[in-house]
Structures are given as C-alpha cells and as structure tokens.
C-alpha cells in the first residue's frame, strides 16, 4: 500500500489534478471554437501522473517532457496565465508564442521544456543529468516519454549511457496504452516497459499510473534510489489517455466499451472519493473545488482572448542566434 497524503497535501494534490483537468477541457473548447490555432495533445485521464511526479521531487530537480506537456508544466509550477498566453501565441507566453502547446518551457521551476520529436527529449534529459553529475549537483532529471516513443532507438542509447555513466536520471514512461492510434499490445515486445531496464542494468518498476498516491510513492522511491545508489531508474506508470491523440482524433482504433472501463478508473474519481472517505473533504467541497478551478481558468482565458500582443517577425528572427539575425 502506498503512502496516504495528509489532509493538506491531499487537498493540494487534488486541486492540482482538478486544475489540470479543467485546463485541458478549456483548451479543448478553445480549439473547438477556433479561438486557438494549431494542434494540441491533451492528457485528460493522466492527471495522477503529473500530479504524482513533480510534487514528489525536490523543486530543484529538473523535468524534460514531451508534446503532451501541459499537465507536467502545470504540476512543476508554471503560471496558468503564461501557459495559456503561449497557447494563444502571445508575447507574454512561456516562450513568447514561438513554441506553442508542444514546447512549453519554464526554467524558473526547473522545467527544461519539451521535445515534440517523441523520444528525442530522453537523450537531452540524459545529457542534462551528465552535466548535473559533473557539477556534483544533488539533483536529478526526469525524462518523460510514452509507450509509443519507447521503441525509439535513442531511448535505448540513452539508457545505456545513463547506466554506464551512473547518471541521475529517472526514465519515466507514461504508458497510456496508445502511441497515436497504435496499441502498445501490438507495438511493444514486452508486457511491461519496466522489463527493458534489465537490458541496461537499470532497476525498472511498473506501477498503477491512475492512483496519484501510488505514483508519488514510486517517484519518491525512485528518486531516493537515484540519489543514494547513484544509479538511473526506469519507472513505468500505467495510465490511459481519455482524449484522442490530438485535436482531430475520432478514436476509431479503440472501443467505447474500453473507454468506459477505464473511465471507472478515472484518477480524479479515485482520489477524490478516497479523500472524501478519509473525511478530508465533503462531496460539496469537491464540487466547489471544481467550480473554483474552472472559474479561475475561465477568467484568465477571458482576459487573453482577443489580445494582440504578438512578436513581430523581426523580433522572432532575433531569437534564431544569440547574436541576432545571422546569415
């Protein structure tokens, strides 16, 4: 049995999960109404992962995430307004509107951003860990990737290097069962990706990714291993993406029955009910929490819709090279 959060921590984590859920729902609505352009990758259903990982870390630990990065960015501490502004392409966004929904970055909270070339970020995170070790830092790097990306060669190269060099990196596979449309059952050679750790002499563990206390506990344990044993660690968290891969996904590759079965394991339901059972929260409190979080995000979105503070193309060009535009 995993640890049980006390009331204060439990409420903080539950609020984070709810904020992530309503944030994603807001994004979905804004894309549907064409108030946002481009594409987006929602993590509805995966809230126990981001709400379980970052709070279990030292704030000075780093994360490097993926195209599905909203929840991780929120959980590591980014401002909702700066995130939303980035989605709108505004100059007060996390990357001044140059990155968009797949490239959120928040160095202040030790979020090194994301690679949207799935799997490639794992090598970057491994390199960050190499430099942390060289500088005798006590901190580690979490390299997020999915079950789809797990088949990229660069992840295998990175795990091998992390192992031979004893790097402080937590390989965190967010197994949501589908790489775009492909089911892991048909694409991945092992039952659990944790098994692949043994190929690189890295301890691997697989846990329920829909139970935030289980995820938190597993990350605490992994981080302890990395810091004490000076070895990398591979953690697979099993979860399910309720939404489609990206905004136009009609989810033809899976059944509504399967989705229904997973909805019974909704991480928000599991954890809110547990908090209510423990007497930390009433049903009415939970409804109010959801309303408050939704209102908060709606207000920020309202403020940003229609704003025109965008970089000029010449200002954008000034970020290509350190010395400005070079040819």
């Amino acid at each position: 049995m995993a640890i049980a959060f006390d009331r204060e921590q439990g409420l903080s984590i539950l609020s984070l999960m709810v904020r992530s859920r309503v944030f994603e729902e807001k994004i979905e609505a804004l894309f549907s109404s064409h108030e946002m352009h481009g594409t987006t990758h929602l993590a509805i259903g995966q809230e126990a992962v981001h709400a379980g990982v970052s709070p279990a870390l030292d704030p000075a630990d780093w994360i490097l995430t993926t195209h599905r990065c909203h929840g991780h960015t929120l959980a590591k501490g980014a401002s909702v307004e700066a995130m939303l502004a980035e989605f709108f392409g505004l100059s007060n966004g996390l990357a001044k509107g140059l990155g968009g929904s797949m490239h959120l970055v928040d160095l202040e909270h030790h979020n090194a951003g994301s690679s949207a070339v799935v799997g490639s970020g794992v090598a970057l995170a491994t390199g960050m860990a190499l430099q942390l070790k060289r500088m005798d830092s006590p901190n580690l790097v979490v390299a997020f990737f999915g079950d789809g990306a797990s088949n990229r060669g660069v992840i295998h190269e990175s795990m091998n290097m992390a192992s031979i060099w004893n790097l402080p990196v937590l390989f965190l596979c967010e197994h949501n069962l589908y790489g775009m449309s492909s089911c892991a059952d048909e694409m991945v050679s092992v039952k659990s990706l944790a098994e692949r750790g043994s190929a690189y002499n890295i301890v691997g563990e697989s846990v329920d990714g829909n139970d935030v206390e289980v995820v938190f506990d597993a990350v605490r344990k992994a981080a302890g291993h990395i810091r004490c044993k000076k070895r990398p660690y591979l953690l697979e968290v099993r979860t399910y993406r309720f939404s489609g891969h990206s905004k136009n996904d009609k989810r033809v590759y899976r059944s509504r029955e399967e989705e229904h079965l997973w909805s019974l394991r909704d991480p928000l339901k599991i954890f809110s009910q547990r908090m209510i059972e423990r007497g930390h929260l009433t049903s009415e409190d939970y409804v109010k929490l959801q309303q408050d979080e939704r209102t908060g995000i709606d207000r920020i979105a309202e403020k940003l819709i229609g704003r025109k503070n965008e970089l000029s193309i010449d200002e954008a060009a000034s970020y290509v090279y350190v010395g400005g535009d070079v040819r």
Partner: protein
C-alpha cells in the same frame, strides 16, 4: 610562427580552450587513449582526464542528443563524429534540437556546442565514409557551419566556434597531415569571414575545405596561360561572407565555384545566387558563372575511380579557360 599539421592545429585549439574553461568537454567515440579515428585527440585524456574527455558508446544520435542536453545546463561540448557520413544519424539532435532550442524557448536556452566531423573522399573508404554533406546543415537557421582548409584557419576558427554561444558545425577535410604556418600564441578567427588565399585579377575561384588546395594548384597551372587567378576561401558557409564573394567577382568579372559535394542542389548554388542576385556584381560578370563539383554519384571504392570523383585541378583549369572563349 610555428609549422604544424591540420590535425595538430585542431588539437592545439581544443587544448587551449579546455585549459581556459573547464566546461569545454570533448565527447565522442574512441576519443580517449585511442586518440580518435583520425588521431586528432591524442593526449587530451591524459592531460584533462575523464571530466573533460568523455568517451562514448557507438550511439551517434544519443551522444549528440546528450551533448545538446549537457549544453543546456552549461557544458560547452565539442562532439567528434568520426565520419561526416554519420551526420545522418545525428541529424535529429542537431537539426531538430540544437538548431531550434534557442528559438523555441525565445532565447531562454542556448546550445554552445561544436560538432566536429571530417568529410570528403581520398581515403579508399567507399560510399558510406567519404561523402560531403555540408548542405545538410547550411539550410538550417540556428546552425553555423565552418569548413577551414589550412591549419592556421582551423585553429583560429575552432577557438571561435568553442566560444560561440550557438551550435557550430565544424567540418574538417581528411588531409590531416597537411602542414602550414600557424601564428604563435593566442588568436581567433571570426566566423563568417572569408580569406583570399591568392590575389588575382582575371578570374575568381570560390571554394572551401579541401578544394582550396585544388584551386591553388589550378591557379598555379593557369599562370602558364597567363590567367591571373584569385582564390577565395570561404572558411565559413553560414554565416557566409557575401561581401567578400561579391567584391572579388566585381574585381575579376569571372567566377568558377568549386566544391567536392555533388553540384546538383549543393552549396555552390547558394554561392552563385549570392553573386547573381546583386545587381552590381551581376553587371560586372563578363562570362557565365562556372561550376566544378563532385561527380553525381556515390564514391566508388576503386582507387582510379575514386580519384576521378572530386574536382581535379585540370577540371578547374578547363572551366576557367572556358570563361575566356577568345583565348582558347
């Protein structure tokens, strides 16, 4: 002044920069006691130890990605990729990551990384170890690309590349034993500045890398034909010294562009565009622009065939004489 080889000049640049800044780290396959595939790194691990010399597994994509990540955290890696051909493996970390990190984060993260790799034929190593792939990198905003020919340029440009806060692709030819005079003491050569390797008034040969020497040979032969050749060594491809290109062509009115990579879709097209896009330079042309490039084929193994692949001095001579129809 010292006489040293291209190889020694590159090594000396790395050693000076590693001694100056402990964040300068050489990474790559066999760069430790073996001294690197082309023996550029002997002595580094003995002097600087494994904190500044990191030997990696055969994992080009992974190791360049690791170097990019380390650079995000303050390291200034010099990555050695043993053959330029393997740049296909490193294309993702270089093109999708190193080149774009600063832009995608609106300047919050920069990647002070040097990517060293040798290119070109002449080693009997056949089609997968002899390509000239500079154009893979020259069309990528966010990358800088240099390709020095002489030991002195190699040293000065490498030191600048290491100190540059942007990712720099540092291309080397395989004439590592080529000797040349290198200034004593501390010096750097700025990226983006061409060098006139030979002054002349009748025709400009514009080139870079190993074919600088081929062009100089052709220029010596053309003395017999009383053609006074100027050889412009670009040294940097991005940023490109368009001013030097145009100034030389305006002076001579005739130009032949030379490189070992195949011409079709190659960097010579960009050089020619820079000449003809400028009205004053275009107006100064007294003949069509000439181009001598590598054959449109993979490098053959057979020695005689391999030698016919890159631009020869005689092919350049013929191209130059072709610009003077009345003289032929």
């Amino acid at each position: 002044m010292n006489t040293m080889s291209y190889r020694e000049a590159i090594r000396e640049a790395m050693m000076e920069e590693m001694a100056r800044d402990e964040q300068v780290v050489v990474m790559g396959e066999d760069v430790g006691c073996y001294g690197g595939c082309f023996k550029v790194t002997p002595g580094l691990i003995e002097r600087f130890g494994d904190r500044q010399v990191i030997e990696t597994p055969v994992s080009e994509e992974g190791l360049v990605g690791v170097a990019v990540g380390a650079a995000m955290m303050g390291m200034r890696p010099i990555v050695e990729i043993m053959y330029g051909d393997f740049s296909t493996l490193a294309a993702d970390p270089m093109i999708n990551h190193a080149a774009k990190m600063r832009f995608m984060t609106a300047g919050q993260i920069s990647i002070p990384l040097v990517y060293r790799t040798p290119m070109g034929s002449g080693t009997g190593a056949a089609a997968q170890h002899t390509q000239s792939l500079e154009h893979l990198f020259t069309n990528i905003p966010g990358l800088k690309v240099v390709y020095p020919a002489t030991p002195a340029d190699a040293k000065g440009l490498l030191k600048s590349a290491v100190r540059d806060d942007d990712p720099v692709v540092f291309l080397e030819h395989k004439l590592y034993g080529t000797e040349g005079i290198v200034p004593k003491g501390e010096y750097t050569i700025p990226l983006g500045k061409a060098d006139i390797k030979r002054q002349g008034n009748d025709v400009s040969i514009i080139t870079y890398g190993k074919t600088v020497f081929t062009a100089l040979e052709a220029a010596a032969i053309l003395e017999d034909d009383e053609v006074d050749v100027e050889v412009v060594d670009l040294r940097s491809l991005r940023p490109l010294d368009t001013h030097a290109i145009r100034a030389s062509v305006r002076k001579t009115g005739r130009v032949v562009v030379v490189h070992e990579a195949p011409g079709f879709g190659g960097f010579s097209g960009e050089i020619i565009a820079q000449i003809v896009e400028d009205g004053k330079t275009f107006g100064a042309l007294k003949a069509p622009v000439g181009r001598v490039c590598g054959r449109e084929m993979p490098t053959p193994f057979n020695k005689n065939l391999e030698q016919q692949l890159p631009p020869s001095p005689h092919a350049i001579v013929d191209a130059v004489l072709g610009l003077f129809p009345s003289a032929v």
